[in-house]
Symmetry: C2
């Protein structure tokens, strides 16, 4: 058990968005080692089918399995919606969680005692189509009303590096949120790990009456709880012997363009990150044999 305690937490995503989960995890569990994998060669996942996304995620899990992760977080709403149940069935020996259940749980709490609360959810097309948020919220509040809105442009807008001051960003957010505001939602769920980048602008647009749920933060809380329940929290070890708390490492892998990742990552992570290792998706494909990561020269 002790050996697993010193194993890394693996965070995986189609690209950069999952780094908002890494940021929340590092704030909450600073002693943990984290391995991040962004499938940048095949991003985005949000416009693709369940068959394709499930295959991609399975290939990634085969790749990270030999690292003996103590926990795997699918830090992508689309991949959680389309692939999480299948991954849990295919890898029964691994502990795997996603971002949707924690977000839905927090949304319910935020709605308080209201009889028929109205939940807005913004997410990729694939996440909306999957009805994963509908199911997760209705399981807890049968009479909740849901307003689901696919917002496919927000990811490319964020990845282009545009900021909240850009009129195009403001127009896109205004257009997407207008019907949700009109129907007087009580809670808005940011159903994509990219969206916290625009959380300030989104809060301003929906006004103070609406509670905004950031699934990245909720997801980090959920991972901490899971590790604590299994007595796998590394902070416990540090507290026993060391004078100074352990500082966990972060190691990143991408399937394309490590340099671009290093440039864009600080926007999501809130700090600099070294150039990640590159691993080809071909090495994943069909390989139960562990793939090899290659460090790309700068």
């Amino acid at each position: 058990m002790n050996q697993l305690r010193s194993s890394p937490i693996v965070v995986l995503d189609s690209g950069l968005g999952g780094l908002t989960v890494v940021r929340a995890l590092r704030a909450k569990l600073p002693a943990e080692d984290i391995v991040y994998l962004g499938d940048t060669a095949r991003l985005p996942y949000g416009s693709k089918t369940a068959t394709t996304v499930t295959r991609f995620v399975k290939e990634i899990i085969y790749f990270v399995e030999p690292m003996r992760p103590k926990h795997i977080v699918i830090a992508c709403n689309t991949a959680t919606a389309l692939a999480l149940p299948t991954m849990r069935a295919e890898f029964p020996g691994l502990s795997i969680s996603g971002v949707i259940e924690p977000g839905a749980k927090a949304a319910i709490v935020a709605a308080g005692a209201k009889q028929c609360p109205i939940f807005g959810v913004i997410a990729t097309e694939a996440t909306i189509r999957s009805k994963a948020y509908e199911r997760a919220i209705h399981r807890r509040r049968q009479h909740a009303q849901l307003l689901l809105c696919p917002t496919p442009l927000l990811v490319p807008i964020i990845e282009e590096g545009r900021g909240s001051n850009d009129p195009l960003v403001q127009l896109a957010i205004k257009q997407y949120l207008a019907p949700l505001i009109k129907h007087r939602m009580d809670v808005l769920v940011l159903g994509c790990t990219h969206y916290p980048v625009f959380k300030g602008l989104i809060c301003l647009t929906v006004g103070p009456r609406v509670r905004v749920i950031d699934s990245a933060e909720q997801c980090a809380d959920d991972v901490a709880r899971r590790l604590k329940d299994r007595s796998l929290l590394r902070t416990e070890v540090a507290a026993e012997g060391a004078m100074k708390a352990r500082q966990g490492s972060l190691r990143c892998f991408v399937t394309d363009d490590p340099k671009r990742f290093a440039v864009l990552a600080p926007r999501f992570l809130g700090c600099q990150v070294g150039t990640p290792s590159w691993v080809s998706p071909e090495e994943f494909a069909g390989a139960r044999a562990p793939a090899v990561s290659i460090t790309v020269p700068a």
Copy 2:
């Protein structure tokens, strides 16, 4: 030689944009059979590296090679910019062309006799970064001035199905074109096969002084010329014997989501298309052996 004459023209692209080339080809060469392959599981190519895009294109060519195509068009500016020279070297027995040279040639003609013409080029990040248009234009006009502008949002905007009347589309085009208009370009090259969808709005935005070059149309002219030079035009056969001109077929393959393709295709093609066949990119990977296409039930 006759046998090759009845072979198909293969058009390949990362997704749907290449269908603007198919539309132009069908208008120009209605008797030709066309096979289209859209790599929808791994799109977009425009934000990815040369290594990754070259690998993807090579896998696709291995897949289409057994069809004995009389010509292959890389109907994607990014793939042309990053992979065409390598593909010609790797497949010396195949006739392969792209969209950049025809577009550059037409831009030069459009600039007329002007001493130092100014060319604007809008394209994906990868196409701009490759300097392929710079090289193609400077080879023909050493003193040409180039204004290169990456426009990464236009593809996702088009694939979301937004029209020219949408204020967000108008704002995006205005923002991207403003510096090119300010610097008084003479010719604007639409350096992505998606962009002809907004050609009307783009022409309106740049004004009548600027000539707008649609690389899809230029590419079709180029293919027709190449086939004529090799005496492989199917129209010639039809003209000899038949009373009625032959109507060529169009067969489409995609690597993800055939239904979505069938819904969006008419916007690019100008007419309906049946549900395409689905082929997994895993079947490409590493397969010199021809991959098998599977028709997905509706």
